[in-house]
Symmetry: D2
Subunit: 136 residues, 4 copies
Amino acid sequence: MEYRFKIRFGDTDAAGIVYYPNFYRWMDEATHEFFQSLGYPTDQLMSKKLATPLVEANCVFKSPGLFNREIVLTTKVEMIREKVFKLIHHFKDGETVLAEGYEVRAWVSLESGKPKAQPIPEDVKKKMEQYLIGGN
Amino acid sequence: MEYRFKIRFGDTDAAGIVYYPNFYRWMDEATHEFFQSLGYPTDQLMSKKLATPLVEANCVFKSPGLFNREIVLTTKVEMIREKVFKLIHHFKDGETVLAEGYEVRAWVSLESGKPKAQPIPEDVKKKMEQYLIGGN
Amino acid sequence: MEYRFKIRFGDTDAAGIVYYPNFYRWMDEATHEFFQSLGYPTDQLMSKKLATPLVEANCVFKSPGLFNREIVLTTKVEMIREKVFKLIHHFKDGETVLAEGYEVRAWVSLESGKPKAQPIPEDVKKKMEQYLIGGN
Amino acid sequence: MEYRFKIRFGDTDAAGIVYYPNFYRWMDEATHEFFQSLGYPTDQLMSKKLATPLVEANCVFKSPGLFNREIVLTTKVEMIREKVFKLIHHFKDGETVLAEGYEVRAWVSLESGKPKAQPIPEDVKKKMEQYLIGGN
């Protein structure tokens, strides 16, 4: 899936380039867009007390992000286990790769008040598998 | 009340100075500190379904905020009505005034699911009045 | 001018609604889009050592902003003086008015190292006047 | 080195816990504090056209961060090479480990306009080695 956004002035810092934690914000935004595109908008998941909190997030920075550039963030699925999954996110400004990141997230229920990992429902899994790279 | 903080690298933008919406973030932080200092930490208010959402916020910018500077933010009460109050916030970097802002907030209950303005409890009012400038 | 954006998960806070300083971030984004739409992208202004720093910003909050909603932010010009101008920004979620804000900004040169207010160039003024409400 | 901070309301999201990209913001803040404590405040490095941009950043999330909690972030050095170094950052809320992260950063000069990796000066290296875990 592709998520397009523009680097905003507030995303930069005094070094004149993107302040790095914003890359994680954009990965999070892409993940929400990803589930929306699969037919599971995260606001609807939340109203059913379902969430996908982070287990781990990583980003490798290749080239600085510049103000006012239009970025294409491509999200794919690298792994789906019973209760966790891994998304990879590639940032490109035209032909230039800005960054490559990943997020490992759990599928959790908040029913009981505190997060409890749950098996990812079969229908969600099936939709996610369309974006799976290589084997599982 | 005084709230002290340092301007962080992520608070700056490509112009090399503080990205302006952060001043409102700091006013919000000072307001939480203010209620904590009065004996009403806002996490405890929240657990009782009480909140102080914004009605209006304003800031006048006098001098740019610079990275790594220690700022003193002084908060006073300008007005207390039945269900709303107004805090003023002054930002100083040493002797330099950076900004002067205010927040008008309502005292609301979230009991019913959606925010409903409530009379500010007498004990809270009394504590707030210690920080009142001039008359009411 | 209209600037459309979606409320992101990271824009919300533990009260379940938009964390208020984000409204100023969106006003800033709209201002950059506004100058871009006039033919003066702010990254090009910056490369000419021109900027439009804030003198004052205000926002009145009418209704809470909710996660995943598409917002229309309409920007108009309320005042143009020799060296300063005022933009007003209205936020709508469908028919619901979320907030009404304004920014007063100066036209400054950074040529000398520190910001110095300059007369707004006639060509810029003329373009801005297209968005002027009522008289000047 | 220890960096202490409080989780602010604006750091939370609609799930009621810390919005995860903030953990990277805090790692960045700790890194700036770390160089300041070594005697190399990053604003002074910047004025000499020196910076430490990110090569990679990672965080593993163990327990949700909660509003108004005081957090202790401990920073150590895991690796120092000629032009890059790796810091590890542990977040604790009392006895609870919230997260464990790392940053790999390069030592760069911005003298020529664009970042160019440089050998880390010997005096800086020596100071950093005080915080080195195990061997190099």
